[in-house]
């Protein structure tokens, strides 16, 4: 593979098992440097499992995981992972939550705060520095969590359905913020979602997984929409609708299979 740029993440025929249960049979996922890849698939197909594998929490039963060309051993030190559920520390203010990773690195609390404040501003939370998580709305907490992950400047960002619990308007807002941040400083990004609109709006490529158990990759569709993208105007364009149809023709069948399997 000479002449090709190194991939940020390279999963080759990865199989993941929990005891006798084969969650993922054969997954291939290649993410280039500074590429934004969305992964969609029916519920329970192994999307979170894939992220856990990329971050090094799970070891594949077969296949290879490489990060920037090197086989992954132990935890992935290039990745930042924004979990599906809420993981903020309730006893720390917004700014201290954002600066948490820096404190873990050995920075002083003052230093961490000084770095955290501009990040809160970037996600539109200027003035909320001293709030505790329970004093923030769901969307605001997600933004804090996003800043908490991004402040560490990981080369690979992993996000597991980060906005699925939010209402449509807040989600649009989050899309805009995320795209702005990503466009300003491009990183490799793997974004898991149930929402096809969201996947097409944000990503460079949409990867479709088959229904589980024993899931695999069934589609890999490049999203050719020009950037920078206007989140609100995009979804009515012909190009968008065509892409939606194309991906849904892959995903729709899988979703039905997973319903059929669950009775």
């Amino acid at each position: 593979m000479e002449g090709q740029p190194t991939l940020a993440v390279d999963l080759r025929d990865v199989m993941i098992r929990f005891g006798d249960f084969t969650a993922v049979k054969s997954m291939n996922l290649q993410v280039g440097e500074a590429e934004f890849v969305a992964v969609v698939g029916p519920t329970g197909c192994g999307k979170s499992t894939i992220l856990n594998t990329v971050t090094g929490l799970l070891k594949p039963a077969a296949g290879e995981v490489s990060v920037f060309g090197k086989p992954l051993t132990g935890l992935n030190d290039q990745s930042g992972y924004m979990l599906q559920q809420e993981g903020l520390l309730p006893w720390k203010t917004a700014q201290d939550n954002v600066g948490l990773g820096l404190v873990f690195q050995g920075k002083s609390v003052e230093e961490a705060r000084a770095q955290a404040r501009p990040w809160l501003a970037k996600v539109g939370l200027k003035g909320f520095e001293e709030r505790y998580p329970h004093q923030l709305s769901g969307g605001q907490r997600k933004r804090v969590a996003m800043a908490q992950t991004l402040i560490m400047e990981p080369r690979i960002v992993l996000m597991d359905e980060p906005f699925s619990a939010l209402d449509v308007h807040t989600r649009r807002l989050m899309h805009r913020i995320l795209l702005d941040l990503w466009q300003a400083e491009r990183r490799s990004l793997i974004f898991i979602t149930h929402d096809l609109d969201e996947a097409i709006t944000l990503a460079d490529r949409v990867v479709v997984m088959s229904a589980g158990p024993g899931s695999r990759m069934v589609g890999d569709v490049p999203i050719t929409l020009p950037r920078p993208r206007d989140v609100s105007a995009l979804q009515t364009t012909d190009e968008f609708v065509a892409l939606y149809r194309q991906i849904w023709s892959l995903l729709g069948a899988e979703v039905e299979k997973s319903y059929a399997a669950q009775g």
Binding site: G80, G87, L89, V103, F104
Partner: protein, 257 residues
């Protein structure tokens, strides 16, 4: 009137009417003052005590014993709770022994501690520690075990070291439990000190009560109990303030919002 004011008003009213009934009952000859000395007698007795240096020595001795057993018990119990909370294997090994020790009626240890440590301060503190330790231990253990797993995973993903996890995740998460244990522990520490004094000593509030009892002086016993209650209430107020400061991050209970 603010809610707090109303609460205090009703509380004062209850106490006053109770005292009034009691006092007039004694004066009317309906209550035997030998068993239930009138409130006025008790107030007089406490006043009398407060003018003597011996009484203040007794209070000082009990206070010192209480504080020492409280601090030592909390320190040992919390450390043990964190250690076993983080080590499931060790916890499983030690659990039956802890249950066994905790099942011993602590009052029986009093005489043994007197034999081991003599009549002075040490035997009192030792008894207090055995009482406080378990409360602190069980609460801390529980608190460490009940850390929100998502919060924990998130901190780990942010590359927290073991020490950072302890400091930023486990300990703050366990504070609610540890604080609730402080509350009970204050009472336990006082109890340990007073019971040990009562069993055998030459100073302290427990000694004061034991002496009064020795001469069937009910007024002395009652007055001693009142002083003790005031003592515990005062210590409790200190814990209350600590709790308010440490738990600012918690949402206020719904009815206060």
């Amino acid at each position: 009137m603010p809610r707090r004011g109303k609460v205090v008003l009703v509380q004062v009213a209850i106490v006053l009417s109770l005292l009034l009934v009691w006092e007039s009952g004694v004066r009317a000859g309906l209550i035997d003052p030998f068993f239930f000395p009138a409130p006025s007698t008790l107030v007089a007795r406490i006043g009398e005590w407060m003018s003597t240096a011996d009484f203040w020595t007794d209070v000082g001795v009990t206070l010192l014993e209480t504080i020492l057993s409280f601090v030592a018990g909390i320190a040992i119990g919390t450390t043990l709770g964190i250690w076993l909370g983080l080590n499931p294997f060790a916890a499983e090994v030690v659990q039956p022994f802890i249950k066994m020790f905790n099942a011993i009626p602590r009052i029986l240890l009093g005489p043994i501690f007197v034999i081991w440590f003599g009549l002075g301060l040490t035997s009192k503190v030792a008894l207090g520690v055995t009482l406080v330790l378990f409360v602190a231990f069980f609460n801390t253990f529980q608190g460490v075990r009940e850390v929100n797993p998502v919060v924990l995973a998130n901190a780990r993903l942010l590359r927290a070291s073991k020490w950072s996890l302890l400091r930023h995740v486990y300990l703050p998460s366990a504070t609610t439990w540890i604080l609730s244990s402080l509350r009970v522990s204050v009472g336990m520490a006082v109890m340990g000190a007073v019971v040990a004094e009562y069993l055998g000593s030459s100073a302290g509030l427990g000694h004061l009560i034991a002496q009064a009892e020795g001469v069937l002086d009910a007024a002395g016993v009652f007055a001693g109990i009142i002083v003790l209650s005031a003592f515990v209430v005062a210590l409790d107020a200190v814990v209350d303030r600590a709790e308010k400061r440490l738990l600012v991050w918690r949402p206020a209970p719904a009815h206060e919002v």
